[in-house]
Subunit: 460 residues, 2 copies
């Protein structure tokens, strides 16, 4: 009986809390900082340690897969039978850098329990996802000798540095990664107010180089006869938006997916206007002719110049026509938009500003596709009912203006539905004194056990 | 007899060449660099040395006048009689910095003669003007005991740093400086191809500060809802010119003085298209719908952004909406334009871009008025015929796109006509190995003697 198996797995968690924390600390001991090449060997050692844990608890085929960047951990347990669904479980084992170190109250890679919290870099983001899934699976395997469904595990090692090598990895391992549903473990578990980001924006970044005279020129001698690259750069930037704030690139909004009333209400009611205005220090008034604040922040694509410079920046003045100007741009794109055609549209738009006297170059990087998880249906319901049974609350579905590159890649390459279940509840991710609440973590393990059992009941 | 006096003065020059060079070297020994406060005492010592020379050769009332910056040297000789005109002689005794020092072949303040050239910082710009006038006056005073006209001497000490304190000085010494004609000595003497800049542009400089959110914001969270200060800065810059290159500030061209056919021909025929295009490395094609290249460079006012920056400038990307953006602007203004009303027009124009969410501040400095010297009449003819008698050539009149702040101040405050006579013929001004051609300098002294005699013949 399923309920009996669930209870036995929950009992296993209750009886092994000390061991679970001890293993957590071991995992947190690896300084798996993906942004700094100096930690490449630590990342690899961390991946191999996870492989050995997966093998120990009963997974098959556990191994480290090299990429041009940091390795991926893969393992599977496919003995539930062909009538049971297969779930692909995603989390990442790399972590953010620890600077500024002097603000930490304990060593970032010597995990320490204080007041029921486990402090260490990665304790929530996202070793909670790695360890939570591992302990959920171990609880079920150790107490029942089996899992209720087929499982593939994929733990990434470079999420915190923008997943630069994951696109070719996913493209070349499509058969291995194929499943009925993907379960994203990179997020937060919040007992009293669970939230789930069901959609996020993609990113295209670009640099524009505007080059004019061969050197800075005296503006008294050449003012009026030599075109100023800063003026052209400004024209380019000014041309990106109309007076309402709409992006003017050709075809920019063509593929933006409309949202229905339910989603619109959800997005607008979840918008924290006061908090956001407090952070910004200005009214969130730009583009109000387009849509509500919440919808502009999450449903609509954007284009922002992140940096721009050229000419003299020091004290006083310098009477020059500068030789060149530079622009850094990022666009946040939403589900439905095609990065390739948007990138082309940007290039065409910017290059049209070139003249006989000013050269304009554009370099575009497609950094990540927008993602969308399921918003209803049995997979989401499996997670929601597990959360409700465990915490008394169902998750509020939210959009995020941010990006999760791997999910965008899966949306694009697979027809696989994606939902999420996360284990970490804490704070200070990407900051000093990151921690996870241990009581919440144990509760999340119970929820995870229920979620996998619920998923196993979905007919393929 | 005037001709006899001229010859006696010329004989004095011929017989005292070694003494003249020795004194030149003494003057060049003072490191009178006005831009660097470390040389303030050297500048003062230089001014006092010039005062003692003026006194020695017979000038009255020679003294140093303190300003909020570097001092002015004043002296006069007013014994020619009320029927003779009074000339105000201008030059500057301060010099440019000497960097890069390692490119000098001899010490910049240890003047050295090589191949008939005297090498030192300031040898041409503009201690040639100071020393040339002093030796011309000494030649006349020593050989005849008198000057043919009334003379006031004003030598400035901060021309090379933009004359920041001369406006209040000139305003508060109007009676002392009043004369029938001003003779500018800051220029070049060129035996075979004399040129005289009869008009130059003025300068207004401005800084614009565009301030948005209280800190850099995450573009994923706030893209689309917070106005980006870089976008507004770009709109401001893009709005300064129409598609033909005309400046769009209200009333900008209203007071620009039209030029007649003679001046137009002169300007266009004197334009060195190949040389300028070689320096720029691009075609001089900007704004060709407005006027010819030469006229745009010299007759029309301009507005250039000299520097602009905001946000992230490092390698890679940073997904931010920057908190602020900055713009540095200079306008080159032409005779007729009023700096005050142009400055107001700029402020109104830029401030109109402020919104509820982006604050726009403008700081404007009126750095120098455009100037115009006489283009015909007896004062110019006095100089031209002296040049012709001395070199066989009359000076070509040219406009310059650059600025001479002091002349603009005099144009504005006095009704006094201005013309010019210069003594320095050399090269590398503002660069290493500045020099003056000694033979040309001695010839220029003869021309100076003739010029003052010609001026003395003009009836008041």
């Amino acid at each position: 009986m399923s309920n009996e198996q669930i209870q036995k797995a929950i009992d296993f968690v209750q009886q092994n809390k000390d061991t679970i924390v001890a293993g957590y600390k071991e995992l947190l001991h690896f300084p798996s900082i993906s942004a700094d090449p100096a930690y490449a060997d630590d990342i690899k050692a961390c991946a191999e340690w996870i492989v050995s844990e997966l093998t120990r608890i009963g997974f098959d085929n556990a191994h480290v897969i090299a990429t041009d960047g940091h390795p991926v951990v893969y393992a599977d347990w496919l003995h539930a039978g062909d009538d049971k669904p297969t779930v692909l479980v995603y989390s990442h084992y790399d972590v953010q850098p620890v600077d500024p170190l002097h603000l930490w109250h304990s060593e970032p890679f010597e995990a320490e329990v204080r007041d029921g919290r486990l402090y260490a870099r990665g304790a929530t983001d996202n070793k909670a996802g790695v360890w939570g899934n591992l302990k959920t699976f171990e609880a079920m395997l150790a107490s029942s000798g089996e899992l209720p469904l087929n499982v593939k595990v994929m733990f990434e090692g470079e999420e915190e540095s923008g997943s630069p090598n994951m696109q070719p990895f996913v493209e070349s391992h499509q058969e291995m990664l194929r499943a009925d549903v993907m379960l994203n473990g990179d997020g937060g578990f919040h007992r009293t107010e669970p939230r789930m980001a069901y959609a996020g924006r993609g990113i295209i970044s670009a640099e524009v180089y505007v080059k004019g005279p061969k050197a800075d020129l005296h503006s008294g001698m050449f003012g009026g006869v030599v075109q100023n690259p800063l003026h052209v750069a400004a024209q380019i930037i000014a041309s990106f938006h109309d007076s309402d704030g709409r992006v003017t690139l050709s075809g920019y909004y063509d593929d933006v997916q409309a949202i229905d009333e339910v989603e619109r209400d959800r997005i607008n009611s979840g918008w924290q206007a006061d908090r956001n205005e407090e952070i910004a220090g200005v009214p969130l008034a730009w583009g109000r002719g387009i849509a509500s604040d919440a919808e502009r922040a999450m449903v609509y694509p954007t284009l922002d110049v992140n940096g721009m410079w050229g000419g003299y920046q020091g004290p006083g003045g310098k009477t020059i026509i500068p030789s060149e100007a530079n622009i850094k741009i990022t666009m946040r794109l939403v589900p439905g938009q095609n990065l390739g055609s948007i990138a082309e549209s940007l290039i065409d738009h910017v290059e049209s500003f070139a003249t006989d006297t000013v050269n304009v170059e554009v370099k575009v990087n497609q950094e990540g596709w927008p993602f969308k998880m399921v918003m209803d249906g049995p997979y989401l319901e499996a997670v929601q009912s597990a959360l409700e049974a465990t915490t008394g609350h169902r998750a509020t579905l939210v959009r995020t203006g941010g990006s999760i590159p791997i999910l965008g890649m899966f949306n694009r390459l697979f027809d696989m539905p994606i939902t999420g279940y996360s284990y970490g509840e804490g704070d200070n991710i990407h900051s000093p004194n990151e921690y996870v609440e241990l009581d919440a973590f144990f509760l999340a393990l119970e929820g995870g056990i229920r979620a996998y059992h619920n998923l196993s009941a979905i007919s393929k």
